[in-house]
């Protein structure tokens, strides 16, 4: 018996010796970046933020407010008016009147000029908007600065040009606006989602009542100020912050003619059910659990970058995040090794630092959900890999994480985690990859990595997903339609197809 123990000890030593001898790459402190904080003083946040209805900033009729915080510090930034039924009603009526009397009567080219004007003003305030987005939402400043804000601006520019060209998009049709659009957006890309919703709606001659997410109302309200500054006619854009109840009031308001929702599949289904039979138009952009398929012939290092961008971009708070990695068995070990190295170089922490790659989780609630699902992954027997990075003491943070040895049936492989957590699975043949990728109720996006052109077309065409990134991931552009298959929703945003959701054809 003693011998057996000795042998085991021997084996263990042998393992650790070979482990020590294995080439290792250390990302240490030989040359460390100094803190590079973006100056926050460019923004001044009102202690009390209000609703934006009919061109004016007004408190909620009920007087109710809620606090909005900086998730990276847990500091309260502002008290925001919470819209109730009366506010929604006022906003919808203002929007209806603006639609009837002004916006739908305006020459299309003039509508376009307002959008151009908004885009320009956003450009001028882009730094301010980026800082505000980061402070309120927790995303790294480099993403707000380089992705969210420029793309939001681009959406206004893009749709401005459509305003007087709608007949070209829908030949043989008379194109008219729908009316008041009730729009509900999530907290992961607050300004960008507002732009995705408002720009096409306005270009097509509609007016909007937009409800930003409860945790991230500030950039929507900043956009409201920009609308004011652009002399947009009162009531064309109304912003009513609030929580789910406010959203429900908006959806159910009888004078809302179109509902556009981006958020969870669960709520999307409730909305679809709620407006059934009302004749309201609906577009839904819901959850996802995208597969990123890496074939053995892929450009592996770029694939690893794509995987990292796919799941750690915006802390994984991305509906189209590549949260499932399907890697061909022959390269699985290499990919996992590279992924382990790569997450060590992700800089996690202060979102305002220009070198931060992964910022704060948007809310405590979301952090709890991520923690719960990660614990579940461990419990279900998947192998946890986590960056060794230190996390700030305050604020909501979670390290870049991935699981290997994940089974298709694990919760972490099926449920949308909406955090920086990747589930890695393997496959042997293209058919198996396709089958596993599609074996999920969602269908928003997918990624395919291979150096073989014919394989790209074959595999991308078999993906049941609305956006397929081949040899890239998480790319967005206002000219490119975005939206899902299956339970990821319907309707497209962006491109010519995105206009369809905001026009009445006859």
């Amino acid at each position: 018996m003693a011998t057996e123990i000795d042998e085991r000890a021997e084996r263990k030593t042998a393992t650790s010796r070979s482990e020590a001898e294995r080439p290792r790459i250390e990302f240490g402190t030989a040359w460390e970046y100094s803190p590079a904080p973006e100056a926050a003083d460019i923004v001044s946040i009102e202690k009390r933020e209000t609703l934006f209805i009919n061109g004016r900033f007004v408190p909620a009729r009920s007087g109710r407010v809620f606090e909005t915080i900086n998730p990276a510090t847990e500091e309260v930034l502002s008290e925001v008016a919470e819209g109730g039924a009366a506010d929604i009603d006022a906003a919808v009526r203002a929007a209806e009147e603006a639609h009837r009397k002004r916006w739908s009567k305006l020459k299309p080219a003039e509508r376009g000029k307002y959008l151009y004007r908004i885009a320009r003003l956003m450009q001028e305030k882009s730094r301010e908007l980026a800082v505000l987005e980061t402070i309120n939402g927790g995303k790294p400043i480099k993403e707000s600065r380089d992705v969210d804000v420029p793309l939001a601006i681009a959406h206004f520019f893009y749709h401005a040009g459509w305003a007087d060209k709608l007949e070209y998009a829908f030949p043989r049709h008379r194109v008219s606006s729908i009316g008041v659009c009730g729009q509900i957006i999530p907290w992961n890309f607050p300004l960008l989602m507002a732009a995705w919703k408002i720009a096409p709606a306005l270009a097509a001659g509609n007016t909007v009542v937009l409800k930003p997410a409860e945790t991230t109302p500030l950039t929507s309200l900043a956009l409201a100020r920009i609308c004011q500054e652009a002399d947009l006619p009162p009531g064309v854009v109304n912003i009513v912050p609030g929580a789910g109840e406010t959203g429900a009031q908006l959806v159910n308001h009888p004078r809302v003619r179109k509902v556009a929702f981006t958020g969870s599949t669960e709520v999307g289904k409730l909305i679809q059910r709620a407006i059934a039979g009302t004749g309201k138009r609906l577009s839904l952009e819901l959850g996802g659990k995208a597969a990123n398929i890496v074939f053995e012939d892929a450009a592996i290092d770029q694939a690893v970058e794509g995987i990292v961008n796919g799941i750690y971009f915006n802390q994984g708070h991305v509906c189209c995040a590549g949260s499932r990695l399907l890697v061909q068995e022959s390269v699985a070990e290499r990919v996992i090794q590279k992924l382990k190295l790569r997450i060590e170089t992700l800089r996690v922490g202060d979102p305002m630092d220009k070198n931060t790659d992964v910022g704060a989780i948007n809310s405590r609630m979301q952090l709890d959900k991520i923690r719960e699902l990660v614990a579940c992954g461990v419990e279900e027997g998947a192998l946890l890999h986590q960056s060794s990075c230190a996390l700030p003491a305050k604020g909501f943070f979670f390290p870049p994480t991935f699981f290997s040895e994940v089974a298709q049936s694990h919760r972490i492989a099926r449920e949308e985690i909406f955090g920086p957590v990747l589930a890695v699975m393997t496959f042997r043949t293209p058919d198996e990859a396709v089958e596993k990728a599609n074996n999920i109720p969602y269908g928003l996006s997918a990624g395919v990595w291979t150096d073989k052109g014919s394989k790209i077309f074959q595999i991308t065409s078999k993906m049941r997903a609305g956006v397929v990134w081949a040899n890239t991931f998480n790319k967005f552009d206002p000219a490119s339609p975005f939206g899902g298959y299956k339970e990821s929703g319907f309707g497209r945003e962006g491109g010519m197809h995105g206009l369809r959701a905001y026009v009445e054809l006859s």
């Binding site: 240490g28 030989a30 100094s34 892929a298 290092d301 770029q302």
Partner: protein, 303 residues
């Protein structure tokens, strides 16, 4: 007819996606290097410099001046380290060796029919041996790009092996001349080939062809070095050269190294920057950091 056909296995060279690698390099270029990080980075870059003069009009006087600059880049400030090496034509190796004696600055010599490499192999080997016997610590050889682009990988491999042998104890840097290879796939392929053939360093360019050491090219090579290390345990060095003129570029290169290869490569033993005019920009930026004032080049000696 390769001596060691198993050294370079083309089928194991991964493809490189142009857009992907360029996006990654551009992403790393957005790292913000401020204050202490900038100062430390500039000093580190100085210590990694292969101060270079490779011109037809090079003379003993020019080389001796450059050697003095190499030993003491900023006269009167000993906190600024000497550069890693002087890089000259074979004709000037002995002079440089003499001028640098005892300084710790190494002498590197280009060889093998630099820059085109279009001379017979015996000439290349003779070129190498002469430089080494004149005292060169390092040899910067050029590969036969014509042979490489015609797919004669064995020939290129064999030449590197032969030059390596001719180098003896001198370190061998293999110049790929990436500007002529054109694609990242070729850069990766040539990197893997050179490392398999025994290169101590792989180097982007001669400085005579543009584009030269672009960040994505450097990144491709760094990734090749990392993969080679992970597969074999051997650390190969990296030397970008050509067109690197500003501190900002140099710091960007250090970022690429830091985030691809980690701490072990952040040393002159494994990372060099080949440049002729970078030193003064490093000094000017250093002065700017410590004084807060933007600088004028006339306050820094050219040689």
């Amino acid at each position: 007819m390769s001596a060691l056909p198993s050294l370079f296995d083309l089928s194991r060279v991964p493809p490189v996606d142009q857009v992907g690698i360029e996006e990654r390099a551009a992403g790393l270029a957005r790292r913000s290097i401020k204050k202490e990080a900038k100062r430390a980075g500039i000093l580190l870059a100085m210590s990694m410099l292969d101060l270079t003069t490779l011109e037809g009009k090079d003379s003993e006087g020019k080389v001796r001046q450059l050697c003095r600059k190499a030993i003491r880049p900023l006269p009167g400030d000993p906190t600024v380290p000497h550069v890693a090496a002087i890089c000259v034509y074979p004709n000037f190796v002995a002079i440089a060796k003499d001028a640098l004696a005892g300084s710790g600055v190494k002498v590197a010599s280009v060889a093998t029919g630099f820059p085109a490499g279009q001379v017979p192999l015996p000439v290349k080997l003779d070129d190498t041996r002469r430089a080494v016997s004149a005292g060169a610590d390092e040899i910067d050889m050029v590969i036969d790009r014509g042979a490489f682009l015609s797919g004669e990988y064995d020939r290129v491999t064999d030449e590197i092996l032969a030059v390596k042998e001719a180098c003896g104890a001198a370190h061998l840097k293999v110049i790929l001349e990436t500007g002529e290879l054109e694609t990242y796939d070729n850069v990766r392929r040539a990197s893997d080939l050179a490392m398999a053939a025994g290169a101590d360093f792989i180097k982007t360019s001669t400085g005579k062809v543009t584009p030269a050491a672009t960040p994505p090219v450097v990144l491709v090579m760094l990734e090749a070095i990392r993969d080679h290390y992970l597969a074999t345990g051997r650390r190969v060095g990296m030397k970008p050269a050509g067109g690197i003129k500003t501190s900002k570029q140099a710091l960007h290169l250090l970022v690429l190294v830091k985030e691809t290869l980690g701490d072990a490569w952040l040393t002159p033993d494994l990372f060099r920057i080949g440049a002729s005019t970078l030193a003064n920009d490093l000094l000017m930026q250093l002065a700017k950091e410590s004084t807060g004032r933007y600088q004028n080049e006339d306050y820094f000696t050219k040689d």
